[in-house]
């Protein structure tokens, strides 16, 4: 991909120094600034969610429930789930990285609807504020899944407030998805055909489709829970004729595809990282692109695998099981094609690439154990055990968080014009990889041995593995704190990065770093397919 080279003259105006006022940030419609706003807010939420995780792990160091009461423990895992799923994972790779990178990658001046984009961030902040308020005044204990009739009838915690908070976060997600679809459809630079798009864009397009189609359904499900709770109508209450399984259907119709909201954009990031740091065109471009769409489509047909023990019919369970296996095909296509891209590539082990390797390995493990739980018989054995907890943490933390950190390091020079310190970054990538595995691998064993999730006390024979897991969590915490410190340090002391430190062919690298407010001095014209490293031997690492 080539664009007219823009001449950098110092000191030049870019999106960060164009205006320093607080209003210029809070009322900005610049997608890059909104991306930064999102980054700051989700980082805050990440550490709040992490605090709950820390307390959970501390409680589980000993078999007896001695650190917190069982009621408090219920609140801890619920709030860990709500904060991490709705306020960190779903907006992390999509809203932070997508907002910053996506318009530049299509060669546009901004998102299609900049004001709606800003509104999306405000919706997120309002939702987060309401949820945090509920947490501070007393918390909520239903589990992040809000299963009825507990959530509608029996729980006496702040269920209503949490639901309102999540509804706002949902609107934020819908607005983001709306912008992605419109921007990719209508604002592509001249010459940027669908088949020339970077794979990041295909992934984000698929993600946006899920956001658009799934989020409204969970919104209405949660509204029904709130209505039932307020007026005791009994929509899901079996005592009044309602059906609790209907709630589970509506909830998982969104919340299973929501997993793909978290992991599809992460896959898009990995496609960028693997190609840039292997200096090769991705192997089987069309297949990787189509796999994104296939995952989005199949992802909508598998929600029933969360309900194998909820009393659904054996025939629908069989179908949901088969469909769940089918999702493995496009996922595996991606993993194989990234691996094949490495073959005979000029691989450089920079920090983003380390995270990409971490993602590929951990995602594969998370994906393969997903096949275990998609099998009807095995699922009965491991339902509601730590096996499931380990499985989805391999996807969400091992997959999404790895890709998020990889993306942050990769685009950091584009965001702020400075490099992160490579040595420290590699060190913390290593610490995170080790800490992650020590934390979550024992949980597979625990679950297989039969330790149920969501209890604050457990049988004494599980203690060794639980202590391992807690020890791993403390390693992981160090790994997450390090980037927070050195990335902030690098804002001032980092090496100055050129416009394209990685020598990437990506369109977003063809403008200056940090980019001007409208991204490109003149509209770029795309003349070739993505990742054409073979045609550009001159493209090389600068930093």
């Amino acid at each position: 991909m080539s664009a007219a080279p823009s001449v950098a003259v110092e000191p030049r105006e870019h999106y960060l120094n164009v205006d320093y006022g607080i209003r210029s940030w809070l009322l900005t419609t610049d997608h890059k600034r909104i991306g930064i706003l999102y980054m700051i807010s989700i980082t805050v939420m990440f550490f709040i969610g992490g605090l709950f995780a820390t307390l959970i792990r501390l409680e589980l160091m000993t078999p007896a429930g001695d650190l917190v009461t069982s009621d408090t423990y219920n609140k801890l895992f619920t709030m860990h789930g709500i904060v991490m799923v709705f306020f960190f994972l779903i907006p992390s790779v999509p809203a932070v990285i997508g907002n910053f990178v996506l318009p530049m990658m299509v060669g546009a001046r901004d998102m299609a609807f900049p004001k709606i984009n800003l509104l999306s961030w405000y919706m997120y902040v309002i939702g987060a504020a309401i949820t945090l308020y509920c947490i501070i005044v007393g918390g909520v204990d239903t589990g992040w899944t809000f299963y009825t009739p507990f959530s509608t009838t029996y729980s006496n915690t702040y269920v209503f407030g949490s639901i309102v908070g999540i509804l706002f976060a949902g609107f934020s997600s819908i607005f983001t998805g709306l912008n992605f679809i419109a921007t990719i459809h209508k604002l592509r630079a001249p010459g940027l055909t669908w088949r020339r798009m970077q794979l990041f864009l295909w992934s984000y397009y698929a993600t946006a489709v899920i956001m658009i189609l799934g989020t409204p359904v969970v919104a209405i499900a949660l509204i029904l829970v709130a209505v039932e709770r307020m007026w005791h109508i009994g929509i899901f209450n079996p005592a009044l004729g309602g059906d609790p399984v209907l709630f589970q259907h509506l909830f998982w119709f969104y919340s299973h595809p929501a997993v793909y909201i978290m992991v599809l954009p992460a896959m898009g990031v990995i496609s960028e990282l693997v190609t840039t740091f292997s200096r090769k065109r991705v192997f089987g471009y069309e297949f990787v692109a189509a796999a994104s769409i296939a995952i989005a489509v199949f992802g909508f047909l598998v929600w029933g695998h969360h309900m194998f023990v909820a009393g659904i019919s054996i025939y629908s369970a069989l179908l949901f099981s088969i469909m769940s296996y089918l999702v493995a095909i496009p996922s595996a296509v991606k993993v194989f094609n990234w691996t094949a891209t490495l073959y005979k590539g000029a691989i450089s082990y920079r920090t983003p690439m380390l995270y990409a390797f971490g993602f590929i390995g951990l995602f594969t493990m998370g994906g393969l154990t997903g096949l275990f739980v998609a099998a009807l018989g095995v699922d009965i054995h491991v339902t509601d055990t730590y096996f499931v907890v380990a499985h989805f943490h391999y996807i969400m933390v091992g997959g999404t968080v790895m890709a998020y950190l990889g993306a942050i390091h990769y685009w950091w020079p584009k965001m702020f014009g400075r490099m992160y310190p490579e040595g420290w970054a590699k060190l913390s990538a290593g610490i995170i990889f080790i800490g992650f595995n020590v934390t979550f691998f024992p949980q597979f064993l625990l679950g297989y041995l039969g330790m149920p999730r969501r209890y604050h006390a457990y049988a004494p024979e599980f203690q060794v593995l639980n202590v391992m897991s807690t020890a791993g969590a403390s390693i992981l915490a160090v790994g997450y704190l390090l980037p927070l410190i050195y990335l902030i340090w690098s804002l001032r002391y980092g090496e100055i990065a050129g416009p394209n430190p990685w020598g990437s062919t990506g369109l977003e690298w063809q403008t200056t770093s940090p980019p001007p407010t409208h991204n490109f001095e003149e509209t770029p014209v795309v003349t070739e397919e993505a990742y054409a490293y073979d045609k550009h031997p001159e493209m090389d690492f600068v930093a």
Binding site: R109, L178, H185, I212, A221, I223, M230, L240, D243
Partner: protein, 227 residues
């Protein structure tokens, strides 16, 4: 900040930053509205789905409860909304050919229809309130028919109020939007070259009408065929 546009592009005060020209802006806005309506469709879809599941599960109770719907008001309201869609379509057509005053006229009539619908809906709700048919507020339901259960009849009314209530909320928002369009048209903001707000509010209005076109038979009509 200077807004540099490509050579040859016509400057227009209504052209927003991300776009090269008004055509691109209009196409994008229309796409955005369709995508938004898709989310609306999914949201109402969740409710329609729940309703149909319960109707199948608790058929006798839902049949019986459905007879308490006011067919006359429902039918009149359906006619009112269909007429409002016609005037909306005429208004959009007037905007496309740059006849600003005609837009004002049609939008005003559309508003009138919209308000009529809501007024009739309010009367209907009032009747239900009077007949103790509002779930959660002293709900009463007496029926001698076999297999009819008060809790399940209440479920019908709960879904009825949630679905029509959400629809009424969309009507209210629609009335707000049409009022805004009317004022802008009155001020002469819309021309042959720039009128996509009219088109998009039109799309929204038609969608909300369409939801009612499904609500009416589902809630009022289909159970009447069974004797």
């Amino acid at each position: 900040m200077s807004h540099s546009t490509e050579a040859g592009a016509v400057h227009h005060s209504m052209l927003q930053t991300p776009y090269r020209d008004l055509d691109q802006q209009r196409e994008t806005a229309t796409l955005g509205m369709f995508v938004f309506l898709l989310t609306e469709l999914m949201m109402f879809g969740g409710l329609f789905c729940s309703y149909l599941v319960y109707r199948t599960l608790y058929f006798p109770s839902f049949l019986e409860a459905s007879r308490h719907m006011d067919l006359t008001i429902g039918a009149v309201n359906t006619a009112v909304l269909i007429c409002s869609s016609l005037t909306m379509a005429l208004g959009v057509q007037a905007a496309q050919s740059g006849r600003g005053r005609t837009v004002v006229l049609y939008m005003a009539i559309t508003l009138l229809f919209g308000c009529t619908f809501l007024a009739l809906k309010a009367v209907e709700y009032y009747h239900h309130w009077h007949a103790h048919e509002v779930p959660g507020f002293g709900f009463e339901f007496v029926s001698g028919a076999a297999g009819v259960d008060v809790g399940k009849a209440q479920l019908f009314f709960a879904l009825y109020f949630i679905m029509t209530g959400l629809h009424a909320l969309h009507m209210l928002i629609g009335i707000g939007l049409v009022t805004w369009i009317t004022i802008c048209a009155w001020k002469g903001h819309y021309t042959e070259g720039y009128h996509n707000p009219v088109e998009n509010v039109g799309l929204y209005w038609h969608f909300v009408d369409l939801v009612w076109i499904y609500l009416f038979p589902l809630l009022y009509l289909i159970s009447r065929m069974h004797t």
